[in-house]
Symmetry: C6
Subunit: 282 residues, 6 copies
Amino acid sequence: MDRPDRKGRVDILRVHLRKISLDEQVDPDTIAALTPGFAGADLANLVNEAALLATRRGAESVSMQDFTAAVERIVAGLEKRHRVMSEQERRTVAIHEMGHALVAIVLPGTDPVHKISIIPRGMGALGYTLQRPTEDRYLIRRGELENRLAVLFGGRAAEALVIGELSTGAADDLGKATALALDMVTRFGMATEVGQVTYELPRSPFLDATGQLHAERPHSEATARAIDDAVRRLADEAFARASEILTARRELLEEGARQLLSKETLTEAELAPLAERARACQ
Amino acid sequence: MDRPDRKGRVDILRVHLRKISLDEQVDPDTIAALTPGFAGADLANLVNEAALLATRRGAESVSMQDFTAAVERIVAGLEKRHRVMSEQERRTVAIHEMGHALVAIVLPGTDPVHKISIIPRGMGALGYTLQRPTEDRYLIRRGELENRLAVLFGGRAAEALVIGELSTGAADDLGKATALALDMVTRFGMATEVGQVTYELPRSPFLDATGQLHAERPHSEATARAIDDAVRRLADEAFARASEILTARRELLEEGARQLLSKETLTEAELAPLAERARACQ
Amino acid sequence: MDRPDRKGRVDILRVHLRKISLDEQVDPDTIAALTPGFAGADLANLVNEAALLATRRGAESVSMQDFTAAVERIVAGLEKRHRVMSEQERRTVAIHEMGHALVAIVLPGTDPVHKISIIPRGMGALGYTLQRPTEDRYLIRRGELENRLAVLFGGRAAEALVIGELSTGAADDLGKATALALDMVTRFGMATEVGQVTYELPRSPFLDATGQLHAERPHSEATARAIDDAVRRLADEAFARASEILTARRELLEEGARQLLSKETLTEAELAPLAERARACQ
Amino acid sequence: MDRPDRKGRVDILRVHLRKISLDEQVDPDTIAALTPGFAGADLANLVNEAALLATRRGAESVSMQDFTAAVERIVAGLEKRHRVMSEQERRTVAIHEMGHALVAIVLPGTDPVHKISIIPRGMGALGYTLQRPTEDRYLIRRGELENRLAVLFGGRAAEALVIGELSTGAADDLGKATALALDMVTRFGMATEVGQVTYELPRSPFLDATGQLHAERPHSEATARAIDDAVRRLADEAFARASEILTARRELLEEGARQLLSKETLTEAELAPLAERARACQ
Amino acid sequence: MDRPDRKGRVDILRVHLRKISLDEQVDPDTIAALTPGFAGADLANLVNEAALLATRRGAESVSMQDFTAAVERIVAGLEKRHRVMSEQERRTVAIHEMGHALVAIVLPGTDPVHKISIIPRGMGALGYTLQRPTEDRYLIRRGELENRLAVLFGGRAAEALVIGELSTGAADDLGKATALALDMVTRFGMATEVGQVTYELPRSPFLDATGQLHAERPHSEATARAIDDAVRRLADEAFARASEILTARRELLEEGARQLLSKETLTEAELAPLAERARACQ
Amino acid sequence: MDRPDRKGRVDILRVHLRKISLDEQVDPDTIAALTPGFAGADLANLVNEAALLATRRGAESVSMQDFTAAVERIVAGLEKRHRVMSEQERRTVAIHEMGHALVAIVLPGTDPVHKISIIPRGMGALGYTLQRPTEDRYLIRRGELENRLAVLFGGRAAEALVIGELSTGAADDLGKATALALDMVTRFGMATEVGQVTYELPRSPFLDATGQLHAERPHSEATARAIDDAVRRLADEAFARASEILTARRELLEEGARQLLSKETLTEAELAPLAERARACQ
């Protein structure tokens, strides 16, 4: 059910445009730029609508105006069916994903970023940053876990830095970061104020494939507070690190977001120049 | 099962009045004004009763007095079946709904108000203010959530301002506002005193279609207090903003409520002049 | 299964007494006064027993003594089956119900009292004060809810004032008053110390027809205390208001209770003179 | 399965003794005094054993020594099957039950004592004091409830006074007293420090036939403490009242216990002289 | 499945040794001393193995060396199947059981010790001290319960005194002692700081045959603390009493343990001299 | 499913290499060193691949280069199927397991180490240190339990000492140590600040074969805190002891880890020289 990115739409459009005669100035890339969020069927529909409009006005070939009018008509229908993201939302998502990617690129020892995209995938996710899967790592050191936390906060830190305001888009990142920090504190004994013991808490889905809820050991209010404080401290430190990394690379962040808005998906190769500059920076 | 508003009752009455001979002074709009809460069947019944009364007193055409007497008789019956709102209740509902509408009109970035009504809909709701549906928004910024909170408190603030006393009518708004504020604090990390972590709490029905109850992570009393305080602070700030907006537009609020009491439903077009004045008001 | 009041017993007795010859001094009303708590079948039985006693002593007509003896015999049996209330209990119930009624009569905006009775109804209730049903009110203002609380405390306040000692008879009133106060505090946002948010608590049966238990949001001890304090404050204020109203009308209260003890049931019409004097009392 | 008291054993023995020839000094009452805890079958067995022993020693009639020897043999067997209470235990039970009875006799308004016994009844109860059943009282005043509490503590107070040491025998009384005090505090609003509200707690079996567990309203720690304190205060006051009553009547208590030890059961008539002296005592 | 003690093994060995010819110096008691933990079948196997070894070396009769070698071979096999207790463990168990026995012997009013053993019985128990069963006592006084607590702590106190270090062997005693102390505090009202009320807690298995879990009454943290403190105080006092009794009889304790190690089981008669000296000791 | 260690791979390789002609310099041990994590089937596959490569380049015998190329090709495939541990991870595991082993070797009274390995076994465990099974010990003294705790912390202490950073690899050790410390505190009464009573907590799987969850006795916050503190103190002391032992033997630790990395498994005999030096130290 994934929708194509801009380049994908150009490819699809070329196939459908072959079948009709076009004015000279009609350009698949311009149409693709007008149609973010269109699925393949929507694009096929668009070409038909434009051809129909041309026929109605007695023209022999389809003009760019026909396409613009058809886009408007279809967008109205699409808005009813499943709302397309606004420009502002798309920009926020681009900033957010580029934030994740830059923090991951800069921090040593984190997995390489393979792909970054603002095409929504599945329910809930507005964009994604794809790192090499890490679930089957055997043994992860504290420093690596802290880096993972910072990457998780990269999107939120980027929004705060560039948009200047938080949004609901980081809820999923926050949930994963909380689960990871809780594991560090209550399962791996990595917080000195809580100590080298485990506390049976509902299992985090992040590092444990079984997803089981462990029986809970009742602990004291003092311990509950120490756990809360340690989790918050880990989260705050990770956010601060992500913010620092992005503040020092703000121009890159905005430039990268612009690229992402334009192409919608960036591969590891396309990210390479940005990554090089990001690593070179200070 | 929705009952018609005043204009709707005029239309229904015209249909039924065609079938009988009327005194000259009989006016469908006057009868409609006497019959808030009447369903279509009640109005058909009313016309029959009035005709019967005229026949009994040997008259050839139905007078306004016949209609008045028939209304009284039917209201008594209706009161037994399902109590019609009192004038005082209807006025409170009108003030309440106009409060929601004005706050929504004034705050930038909130969705436009399409319709506002004091006709009860379904169980529990005494009136309604219809904004463009917002559930399928992808990404909502903190400022927008604060505006939504203020709109939710608009009804309560209007009651406090004009009636000078709170009522049970705002319970549903309070529930929604609490759920939204809780989400801001425990799911979106938007309260600094609670921090950038999530707390697993029973899910709010406001932003999550699944309605699932999340497993609860036991947190400390200190954190529970911080959450309670943050939620209350958000609610208090939103109420204060709504009150400020309405205090500055009190005359508009009362004038709009009078229009609503009279017409029972106002469309976006009918609201336009009020909206323009509300936005102009500095 | 409701048992008849004194007037009802007179009517039933007249039917059965017609069938036997009586001494002149035998008076149905005197017999009814001796037989509080008797059901219709008990009265039929009484007339048969009295006739039997007369036959045994060779008399031709049944004397008042025969009835007195028969009452004693039957009461002993009744006591075994279902204990009849003692005089002291009946007086306490009369004071209690008259307390409810007077507070309801005096407070503006409360529903009119239709009937008041000390005939037990169903299980648990020893008497009742019938107000026009209020469950289907759409919207109730804070002041009205406070008046309802005061009416609920009217019975307890009357017992404290006249009997000088509390009893178990007010348990049901206390439960309803607690549920209503809880709703005011945790559902309608009417207590400033708790704030304009809702707290998910077990639902009160008073205002919500569904009777559902809502999921509970864990809140802090500080909030739990604020809720407890607000509920107690509302209850104490309502009790104080009821006490003040009844103290100013103590003679009326006792006089009304005496009437109720004598007639067992008072209708709205029979209450009218008391109500007029109660309202006049400043 | 109830075992007979001393008088009952005499009656049973007379039946069995008729069938054998006895020495002159053999006395059923003396044998009954030796056989507390014997059931009817045990007594029949005893007479057979004694007769057998007489036959073995070639005697023509059964002597008192034969009975004594047979008792010893049977007691050993009984001890294995179901341990008979020791003298010390029987005395403690007698003191305990007489304590209940004297407090009930002295306190005005408590139900009359019909029977008092140290014959174990059913499982768990070592003795019993029978008052007229009070469950179907409609309305009970605070003072009456306090008297009931004092009666419940009468047994424990008597043990403390005469034996000078507490025992496990009062556990059931403590449970009933706690349930009653809890009801006074959380259901009938009779403790000023807790207030005129109800707290949903597990229902007491004492006053509520349904035995249902009510849904629990979460209340604050401060309220939980106030409830605990109020319940303990009611219990302490009731124990103090019971102790005071018994201290003033210590001789009567011990004399009554001796009578109870001897007869095992005392009826209302047999208690009358003790009751008269107890009430006279100032 | 119980394994025989030393004397039992001698008897079993005699039966099996009859069937083979033995060197003169072979002594059943010496072999029994070498074979703690051997079951009957193990002993039969031992005799066969020893005979086989003698045959292999061409001897006509079985020597003591044959038995020693056979024991070693079998012990290795047994160790695999079910580990035999080490000498150190056996000594600790002997000290532990003798501790229970001496405290029970010395404290007035506790039930007589019938048998004491270091032969493991069933799962978990390493040894046992058998007192006359006390479960069907009707009524137990506070002082008796305190003595029972002290007996329960006798094993632990003996280990602390003689071994100088605690072990896991007292876990079962601690559980029973905690349950008993909890009953004294929350069921029998025997702790003044908690008061004469009951607290519904999970039932102890010690005094209640039903083993039911009672519904729990929520009590305050202050009360929870008072209960914890009272339970710990009772436990500490009982341990102190047991320690005091054993410190004053340390030589007897060690001497008794040596006897127990040697004979593995001591009957009431065999304990009599120790008991006499223990009671004489002031 | 266990994969062979280096020596095991040499044996397997010899079998397969027999079937093909090899260059002289081809050495099974060199190939085994290149193939950690290879299963038997992987090695068979390797030999086939190498032979194929030799055939393709027209060679008559298989060279070491053919094997190196085949290894690279297969590793890429294996990485997809089940990620092989990195060198860094293998070193961390070796340090960790050697830490367990050295602490176990040095502490008196702990069970002898039979085998130590960095071959993953089953799910979750990255390596293992095999001690004689201790589950069926009857009675364990406090000092022994403390030694067990120190052994459990040996891996974590070694990582902290040599790697200088904690990892997720110790989570299982922490869980076992917490369960054991909890047992010492709440089941065996070994913490003076908590006292000689038991607290019903979810059962630890460490010492109790049944794995049952015991009913939980509600205890006070003060007690909960004392338990938490005692558990943390035991854990901290055990970690400190393990650290001290390993710091004094750091060279041995690293040398042992190198041997383990090279051989992957060390038997008791192979460990003997290290053990001797470890015990001799200080």
